[in-house]
Every structure is written in structure tokens, then in C-alpha cells.
Symmetry: C2
Subunit: 232 residues, 2 copies
DNA sequence: CGTCGAATTGACCGCGATCAAGGAAGGTGG
DNA sequence: CCACCTTCCTTGATCGCGGTCAATTCGACG
């Protein structure tokens, strides 16, 4: 592992409050690997072996059934994924694949569980992280069940907008086909949904989004903190 | 609180491994209340005050947006709900209402967090519970995104079937209108979905379900342990 | 400049929603 | 005990959102 990677990991909510020696002990058994795009890191159904930490790049979590596939979420650096399976020592419920060249830290699951048992500070952080993950999926499911596809897109764009500090021009963080799947629609329908939002000042050219009439878009989207955040 | 309620609570995964005095300390500040059907126990957006434990009766968790409402899950006794919000000390993301007359234990959230800090056995149980909750929502979302409405109903029926120990006759645990919302469809469509499953030996009369051709139903439903359980 | 995958567009289809009406079950009051 | 009401469920007719299929177009990259 590069020495330069450690501070970024250390800074994560999950680790930042741990004592130095606990953190060192936990990270000692870990190692870093770099993967090219399109590599399947985790296959759903497999037994848990490592807690994954994405340092750099991009990873998507997806699920399959009966020949169909859907994107469940995308992971952006720096963050962990598959913590729940690690803590339960259970099978993965989702698969993971790299979308771009990615640097990933692999921490043996047993080490994570030992650290949890030995260190109550870390234990608190694990609970906070798990509760946050849980609440994100609840938000996601509410979005899916309560909104139409155009409404989902509109609110997704608004979330991107606030994530880019309110800039009126920003980039879609993934391919449109992936975005469509994440938002629960087909690529064709995403194209049409984008057109539907043009009257509300949404201009999308390639990956570049420009908002020219934020008030109208907000009025249409009806964003809600209990679905779209930002609170944890 | 009735003395007879305590053993049932004590038997929950969340509490069963705690030492006697820790458990007593946690439950001391708790109290029991009985609610008639249709009472809104929790309103989404409110601050967390109590961890709820359903002793007897039935509770649904639901969410609202823009005048629409959807059932997110139903809670059956004996189990806790809203643990994530309690641990994060955050606002509720879902509302809760009683579906039947229900006896509910209310444990002050601060007591739960104190117990978590003081008792590593309890901490482990909280993490296990949270991870399980997280994984249930993931399953639920996979079900929603990967299956058609008839497929969701078919697999739901199979889950009920295994929950009733393989009996070929069992009862729907809630009103059909609630079930429809839980499964992400309208009541009208649920009626039609039920008819669609008749050729596979599914007979539903009122709340009573009879399965007369399990092999065909299974073949149609393609149940999957990574969506339908039973593993945690 | 050629190739290949992604994105868009159009035409069409079908799943599931909506609207409207009719029946079944259970509770209430006369 | 029965008439009535409410509520839920079912059924039919119709609508429309979103999916599917197919044909271009766009764009990245070698």
C-alpha cells in the first residue's frame, strides 16, 4: 500500500476516530490492488472475504435475477462498500464491478470483525456507517416507489447540482445507460425523460448538464430531504 | 409493563445475549402502551425519541411524497423497528401506524445509545440487527427492480408458504390493498395478478391461500435465496 | 478514416394505472 | 332479526407510461 493512500482511508468516517495503533493493526493485513475497468470484483452469492475500500476510480453495485440485471448504486471514492455482509459474515447480495480503472483496498473481513469487538470507538463508527447505508437504501426505495421516472431524473439532477456546490454546469458521473438502470428505466426512456425536462431549463449535451431555470426545475421536482437528503 | 412481556423481549436477537443487569437497566426506563388500530405512531420527519418494540398486534411502515403514499414494510411481533434512526439520532424516514390493536414497548433512544456504548455484547447485537435490516431492504429493492408485478406476487406467496412451515393452506397477513402497495402495484392489479397465477395452482379466497400445484408455481416464480431469503 | 459501442429517435406494444361500476362482507342501529 | 351502510374487493373498459424493437446518428478511439 502506498503511504499516500493511508491518510485518505484514515479520514473516512469509519476510521477517523480510531486510536492510532488500532488503525494500524486493522490496516496492516490489508492490501491494495488496482483493477482495470469492467472487472467483476464481487459476485453476488459469494461468501464475504474482504471489506472493500475504493480509493480511486469508480465501482458499481448491481444485482441479477433471471437473466435481468440492474444497477443498485455506484460507489465513488473514497468510501467503503459491502460492510453489511462483512459484519454479518454472510453472502454478498450484490455484485460489484469497476467502471473505471480503480485502486481498491482490501481488508480481511475477519480483521474488521476483530477490530469491532476490540475497539468500541470503531464499533460506534461501524454502527453509524451501517445505519447510514440502511437509510440510503430506504431513500432510494422511496424514490423508486413514490416517483415517476421523469420525477426521479429531475430530482437526481438536483442532487447532482447540490453536490457540485450549486454550480449550474456539471457532469453526469456515469454513462447514461448505467444512469438509466440506476433510476429504474431503460436508456431509451432516459433520453425521452431528458427531453421532457427541457421546458424546465435542463440542457444535457453528452455528459454535461446545464441548468438555466433552477426555480422551475425545483418547482417541478419537489425535492424532499427525507428522500433526497442531504441529512444522514 | 407486564411481567409476562419481558421474556418475549428478552428473547429477541437484539437482547438475548445481554447480561441480566444491563438488560434490566435498559428496560427500566421503557414503558408499554396499547394502541387501537389505525393510530399513527411515528410520522416521517420527526426526531427520534423511542426505539419501538412490537409485542403484539401489527404495524406498517409507510412513506409519503407529493400526496402519494406507499407501504414500505410491515412489522410482525415480536420485533423492533426504527433502530437505524435511533442509533443515528436522526429524523425518521418512514411513518408507522398500527394495523390492529397493538401492544408496543417504547425504549428511550438515549438509553439504547448508552447501552450500546456501555455493553459490547449489545453493540454486537445492534450491528447484527442493523446489517440484517439493511440486507432486507436490499432484497426488497432487488425484488422491485428485477421482477414484474406477477413475479413479485408469486414469490411473495412462496415466502408466505415457507413461513407457514410448508402448509399448503395459509392466510394472507394483511389486507389486499396493503399487500398491493407493499408489492408495488394497485389493488386492481393485485386482483388480476392473482387470477394470472390460477393456472399455477394458486387459489385465493378472501385471505385464505391454497396452493395445489407447488412445483409449477416454483417453476414460474424462480425464487432466489439472494432475494427471498431465507438466509440472513 | 473505419470501427464499435453508446445514444437518440421513431413506431409500436403491453403492463400496469386509472376510472367507473358492481358485488361481498362485516358492523351498526332501528 | 333485518335493513342499511361502510369498506374492501373484484371486474370491465380505457388510457398512458414506459418497454421493446429497429434504424440511425453520434462519438471515442485505434
Amino acid at each position: 500500500m502506498r503511504a499516500t493512500d493511508v491518510p485518505a482511508i484514515r479520514a473516512l468516517q469509519l476510521f477517523c476516530d480510531m486510536s492510532e495503533h488500532r488503525f494500524d493493526a486493522l490496516i496492516r493485513g490489508a492490501y491494495v490492488q488496482v483493477f482495470p475497468p469492467g472487472v467483476e470484483l464481487i459476485r453476488e452469492g459469494d461468501a464475504t472475504d474482504f471489506l472493500h475500500i475504493l480509493i480511486d476510480g469508480s465501482v458499481e453495485l448491481f444485482a441479477e435475477w433471471n437473466g435481468r440485471e440492474t444497477v443498485m448504486s455506484t460507489v465513488r471514492p473514497v468510501s467503503t462498500f459491502i460492510l453489511a455482509a462483512t459484519m454479518r459474515d454472510a453472502r454478498y447480495l450484490m455484485s460489484a464491478r469497476t467502471l473505471a480503472k480503480s485502486r481498491i483496498v482490501l481488508v480481511p473481513s475477519t480483521d474488521v470483525r476483530h477490530a469491532f469487538d476490540a475497539d468500541s470507538v470503531f464499533a460506534r463508527a461501524v454502527v453509524a456507517e451501517l445505519a447510514t447505508c440502511y437509510r440510503s437504501v430506504i431513500r432510494y426505495t422511496k424514490d423508486l416507489k413514490l416517483r415517476s421516472s421523469v420525477e426521479r431524473l429531475a430530482n437526481y439532477i438536483l442532487r447532482l447540482h447540490s453536490r457540485s456546490d450549486g454550480a449550474s454546469v456539471f457532469e453526469l458521473p456515469m454513462e447514461k445507460r448505467k444512469l438509466a438502470s440506476l433510476l429504474g428505466m431503460t436508456p431509451e426512456n432516459l433520453s425521452r425523460a431528458i427531453k421532457t425536462l427541457q421546458p424546465y431549463g435542463v440542457e444535457i449535451d453528452g455528459a454535461q448538464v446545464t441548468l438555466v431555470n433552477l426555480p422551475d426545475l425545483v418547482k417541478f421536482s419537489k425535492p424532499n430531504t427525507l428522500i433526497d437528503g442531504p441529512d444522514t
